[in-house]
Amino acid sequence: MSQLIETRPGEDDRGAASDAKSKHVEVHHVTRVEGHGSVVLDVDNGTVSRIAWQVPEAPRFFEAMVVGKDWQDIQTIVSRICGICSISHSLACIKGVEAALGLEVSEQTDRLRRLAHMSELMQSHVLHIGYLVAPDLLGQPSVVPVAKSHPELVGLVVSLHRLANRWSDLVTGRTTHPIALQPGRMTHLPSAAELIALQHDLETARKSYWRLVEAVGGLLGGLPDFERPTEYVGLVDGFGYAFYDGRIGSSDAQVPLPLDHFEQACNEYVAQDSTAKWTRWHRDAYAVGARARYNLNGQHLSPLGRQVAQAAGLEAHKHNPYYNTVAQLAELGHIMDRGPELIDEILAAGLSPERPKLEPHAGEGVGAVEAPRGILFHRYAFDAKGRCEKANLVIPTNQNHANIQKDMEALAPTIIDRPESEITLLLEMLVRAYDPCVSCSTHFLDVHFVGAKAPSEERD
């Protein structure tokens, strides 16, 4: 979020004697659970000797902290994994808890959860596109100067972001750390009048959305030209653009994997210098997130989503990681279509308060959703009293780490002749494209050029 503050261009470049044959470039920042990282690039005599994506965040041990806790307290705890995608964490959690305890939910609850989920995808995507990526495309260090140079664009971003937040508030009680999303039921129902007002606002916002598409679409020439096909992983259900439910699809696999086997897809391992675990499946790395979802489910985008994808040339650039932002833009169109439709369904079915009797029993189960940044898995096991015995949580950003590393390995040799400020920007933009989390990307403002040292000095 330091994006909101202007950096002082120039200060970072001190001592950066560019065009030297040997370079040491470090992009360093502090971390958090979703995957803060640093980039280290060493160039010796014109070749890349080291390019490393590191994640040295302060580990918080959520999988241990929930052990022994009551099934009714798990959502409250794991929502705090991430302030940005707390609705997705809550949904994966309560679906996992329900699967473990054998609890069924009503269609009403299911529909309201899907509605809540879309609101988070919208807020997160708008935040990423508007506050994080747009300044890069406009050659600005942060959104603050953009607010002065392009007030209309920032106005659109603010209005769409505020609408998405209001949407989350209405359905879940709170944008960050939702209240009403609990195992077995919604603890609060919005009124029909509130939903109709929201639907109206979403329909009115289509104009703002389209103006955002035009504004951002006109800047796509600023996205680097870089392609690296990889494996794409995300939820698939065979008939729709899966956000909330489905099985685990892969561009490298014919048959999707049942959710219950997600560990076979993730194959987590501890990478050197990273407190976040890394993953691999059919190859040495795979990608999750909006671009992976598009690559798996693109034909199921809504008319508006498809229109935006086509206009922005997403199909032709689907192997370009920088186009993840464009996939997010197309998903926003999908949500602008599907959100109001879902509200129609909810209103047609009517809203009635529920207070089902929930009796926990021992068991184990998995919940998964597409968080804004990609597929998210939660597994829980409970004893007969409903106390948590075990948890395994695999978050999207961790699943992207290995892919970011592989992208950097492919990208770095092609850009080492450029000035250090440009190399840094391209590497930062690459990480930012994966949208690891708001704060993560903004940490990338902190760039240290150690400068062009003699190779012997770089080793310490």
């Binding site: 909101l4 302060a58 041990f61 241990a64 902290m65 409250t76 960050t176």
Partner: protein, 242 residues
């Protein structure tokens, strides 16, 4: 008038409190007219040796965090914590009640002994350095944040509500959670959230911490009249580090 310099830092946490600041939208643009935000992340700190107000999110878990916090304290005139992780330790503190070896192995298995995976017990900010003011909540309330910052800028002393959540809950016309057979922390938790959780069908989790002088006797009476025990109350209190 010279604008006060504000810096925002974070330690172990979800950064949801900083998101509440972003979510102020236009109000944020208006706030940064009256303050000069000189840092908003660790990274920029070297460039701005001094600031008037430091806002801190997150808990302290590692020696390097403690060192950084002491440095921030030395450079700040006023140090304000934002959110439960900084204020009380928040959910991060749950693991303090566990064997740290078991905690490490649960998450990292055989890799748990690797040097870069080592962390200490979790501490709130005021367990490490003196704190001038705490903005409570998980997450913080954007309106309360704005009010506190504006009051500080005007040279005043911000005050937090000294009554429990129950007062706001009654005002919101909610049915008492104890009537549903639940254990609710409303009777002893500091108000200011508008009784948000009870208004959305849940009990109060106590994320804003206890009021300064909680009416413990009254809470005991409530607990007893609904057949609940103090043990159940304490278990819920532990969720947010209180």
């Amino acid at each position: 008038m010279k604008k006060p310099r504000v810096a925002i830092f974070d330690f172990a946490g979800c950064e949801g409190c900083q998101l509440q600041i972003v979510n102020l939208e236009e109000e944020l643009l208006s706030l940064i007219e009256i303050v000069d935000v000189v840092e908003w992340r660790e990274g920029m700190s070297e460039k701005n040796p001094k600031f008037d107000i430091a806002l801190i999110e997150g808990s302290i878990t590692r020696p390097e965090d403690e060192e950084r916090l002491r440095d921030i304290r030395a450079r700040a005139k006023v140090l304000v914590t934002i959110g439960a992780c900084a204020g009380t330790g928040g959910v991060n503190k749950l693991r303090n009640h566990m064997d740290q070896k078991v905690v490490g192995r649960t998450v990292y298995g055989a890799d748990a002994d690797k040097s870069f995976l080592q962390v200490g017990t979790v501490r709130a900010i005021d367990e490490v350095v003196p704190v001038d003011l705490q903005i409570p909540g998980c997450p913080i309330d954007g309106r309360e944040f704005t009010r506190v910052v504006r009051t500080l800028v005007l040279g005043g002393e911000p005050h937090l509500p000294e009554h429990p959540v129950c007062v706001e809950c009654k005002r919101a016309n909610n049915v008492c959670r104890y009537e549903y057979g639940e254990v609710c922390l409303g009777p002893i938790t500091r108000a200011g959230c508008g009784a948000r959780c009870p208004s959305f069908g849940m009990w109060c989790f106590g994320c804003r911490g206890k009021v300064t002088d909680p009416n413990v006797d009254a809470a005991h009476t409530v607990m007893a009249s609904y057949g609940k025990t103090v043990e159940e109350l304490e278990q819920r209190l532990a969720l947010f580090g209180s």
